[in-house]
């Protein structure tokens, strides 16, 4: 962890909201000090640097940020390999067992609360794992990557901050705990609700009313314009002075923009390419 945070600290004018000095932020990994840089640094700046480093290490050791951060060791950056040929069979066995347990749990009133929903969640996840396994097998990707890059694909046990790792669809079965909703839950719009199904329903509805939208716009525009025209003609206004006459022309400026927008909107909807394939 310390190695990750090593490197020279620039003199920073940062301060906390209460005015007390804060340690400078971490330097990016690419800006770490090289031996050549060390040679070029004056003794005075080295002393200052060492003192700052001591101060920083002291800060690191203080329980300021909670538990230590996991290191970025090479084992952290695992790569995908070919799935085991027996994986599917094992998944099927596990799924059958989970389904059996869920069925038995429904008959037994003595089963601890939550076990049944947990078993259903397991069953659901196993089903997904089978589907993803099939997907991985159909995709032939070469495994060539630049060195030094940490591929942060989280493992099944890596933490997801402040939120339960539960599929929203599964959570319809599992009991909901509002206290797990994360820090200061928003009044509306939780990201767990943003599913492909909901998206497809939205864009499909938009597609389905495309013609009504188009013709409705034309009809309403024509109707309003006709009324305005009627009122104007009926008023029998005199021809205005020329400087006054240019004022209404300002209304005409955005007409091409709106016309292009109307045409573009319907062109996108007509192409009908917004829906996504569902699971």
């Amino acid at each position: 962890m310390l190695a990750q945070r090593s490197g020279p600290r620039s003199e920073s004018s940062l301060s906390s909201p209460d005015g007390s000095p804060l340690p400078a932020p971490r330097e990016p990994p690419g800006r770490e000090r090289s031996p050549a840089d060390w040679m070029e640094t004056s003794t005075e700046s080295e002393d200052g640097y060492v003192l700052r480093e001591i101060e920083r290490v002291r800060e690191e050791l203080a329980p300021r940020f909670g538990p230590a951060r996991p290191s970025r060791a090479p084992e952290d950056s695992h790569r995908w390999g070919a799935p085991s040929p027996y994986l599917e069979e094992r998944l099927n066995v596990a799924r059958a067992m989970a389904a059996q347990l869920a069925a038995e749990a429904s008959d037994d009133r003595l089963v601890a609360p939550g076990v049944k929903s947990a078993l259903e969640s397991i069953d659901h996840e196993l089903g997904r794992a089978s589907a993803e396994l099939g997907f991985v097998r159909t995709e032939a990707w070469a495994e060539e990557y630049p060195d030094g890059v940490s591929w942060r694909v989280p493992g099944p046990l890596s933490p997801l901050p402040a939120h339960p790792v539960v599929d929203r669809r599964a959570s319809a079965i599992a009991p909901h705990h509002p206290e797990d909703a994360g820090p200061v839950g928003p009044p509306t719009g939780s990201f767990e609700d943003f599913t492909v199904a909901r998206y497809n329903r939205t864009v499909s509805a938009l597609h389905s009313r495309r013609r009504a939208l188009g013709w409705g716009t034309v009809a309403a525009a024509a109707g309003i314009s006709a009324v305005l025209l009627y009122l104007t003609l009926r008023a029998h206004e005199a021809v205005p002075v020329i400087w006054l006459a240019i004022l209404p022309l300002i209304w005409m400026i955005p007409v091409p923009f709106f016309a292009a927008g109307f045409r573009g909107t319907h062109r996108i909807l007509r192409q009908g390419r917004l829906e996504l394939p569902e699971e």
Partner: protein, 388 residues
């Protein structure tokens, strides 16, 4: 064929820590729960030092969960000395080059600190990369998060329906109505890094400059990114005004200072700005028509007035319908109408406000709900502080 990698890059000052936390968690959550996404991922949080120090525990927690927190060093400078968000974006470009990630199989999905993703977003990204039809993709943004039905929130609904116009324009040669996004867009890393974000001084709308440069260098390589992104609107009318003002500053900056803008494109961008400017005089003239008599001229203009009115009203109705499956809070029709009018008036005034103000790096827009007291009164710009 190499397995693609998507870098989910959140670029922000970082002071809206709760919003950014939710954004990062949405990425992590849906990466685990979206089946059949055909890419690896990296989650980068590119923030300014003051943002990091506003909530270090949040960033450390996210880092433990798999995100990589990149604090832009205060001393970092680009060759042309750009400032603001473009500087942070350029820093991320430099990091990608250093790590060997500026390659055709790496893609960058750009997010603001309040750009949450859903299952559909990830499925759309996967689909876009798989299709290989374009190098840059942008999609529709909804604003359901923390939606309260305030005037600025009602006004935001219209942007989602307008995104259909944006997508069409963006995919056409020349982008005739100047459509693009600063978030919810996907770009191939080598394309982004070859174009970069560096420009002289402060570019208020760095996304517009980026789109101009990509188009100038690669041509019409833009496609539609399916799937929504989910954001939140400005909480107050003042914030809405500052946001829109910044957009107009960006348009003016592009028209007046962007040397890479071809003449034809410069005219279309200028016309888009002019259309927006015309809104306020139109309202004034409409009110004045009660007293002044324009006479037979209205015979001509009234033919088009109906079309413009209907188009504007339709944006509210369809914008609301797009959001209807996501909003848990509803407002009465009269309130919706009044708030819509108030929100529209702010949009009408904003470009003119841009004429009498200067682009400011200190335009920090709170996105955390409820807004933190410190966020309401941000300090004046320091070296690293910027308007995002």
């Amino acid at each position: 064929m190499k397995r693609p990698t998507v870098i989910f890059q959140v670029t922000a000052i970082g002071k809206n820590a709760r919003a950014l936390d939710a954004t990062a968690r949405s990425v992590l959550f849906w990466l685990r729960n979206t089946p059949r996404i055909g890419f690896r991922y990296l989650l980068w949080l590119v923030v300014e030092p003051e943002g990091y120090w506003s909530a270090p525990e949040v960033y450390d927690r996210l880092e433990r969960a798999g995100a990589r927190v990149m604090v832009v060093p205060p001393a970092y400078q680009t060759p042309l000395g750009t400032r603001g968000k473009a500087r942070a974006l350029q820093y991320a470009c430099d990091e990608r080059r250093r790590l060997g990630l500026s390659v055709p199989w790496v893609w960058v999905y750009h997010q603001d600190e309040e750009t949450c993703v859903g299952e559909d977003t990830l499925a759309g990204i996967s689909d876009f990369i798989r299709s290989g039809e374009a190098l840059v993709g942008a999609g529709i943004i909804l604003y359901p998060i923390d939606w309260m039905g305030t005037p600025s929130h009602v006004q935001e609904l219209t942007r989602s329906f307008d995104d259909l116009r944006v997508l069409d324009s963006m995919t056409l040669p020349g982008n005739p109505t100047a459509g693009f996004h600063g978030s919810h867009f996907l770009v191939r890393a080598d394309v982004e890094d070859s174009v970069g974000w560096d420009s002289e001084g402060y570019a208020p709308t760095e996304d517009l400059m980026f789109e101009i440069r990509v188009r100038a260098r690669y041509g019409s390589v833009f496609g539609v990114l399916r799937g929504f992104a989910y954001e939140k609107g400005a909480f107050s009318l003042r914030d809405q005004l500052r946001q829109r003002r910044r957009w107009m500053h960006g348009v003016l900056h592009a028209v007046l200072h962007c040397h890479e803008l071809p003449l034809r494109r410069r005219l279309t961008v200028a016309y888009s700005g002019l259309s927006w400017f015309s809104a306020l005089p139109s309202v004034v003239i409409l009110v004045a028509s009660i007293e002044l008599r324009y006479g037979p001229l209205l015979d001509v203009t009234s033919l088009f007035t109906g079309f413009i009115w209907v188009s504007m009203i339709l944006a509210y109705i369809e914008g609301f319908r797009l959001h209807s499956k996501y909003l848990e809070r509803s407002v009465s029709l009269p309130r919706f109408f009044v708030n819509g009018v108030v929100g529209a008036l702010i949009d009408v005034v904003a470009p003119w406000d841009a004429l009498i103000t200067r682009p400011s790096l200190g335009d920090f827009i709170p996105k955390d709900y409820p807004a933190a007291p410190s966020a309401r009164s941000p300090k004046r710009s320091t070296a690293g502080e910027s308007a995002y």
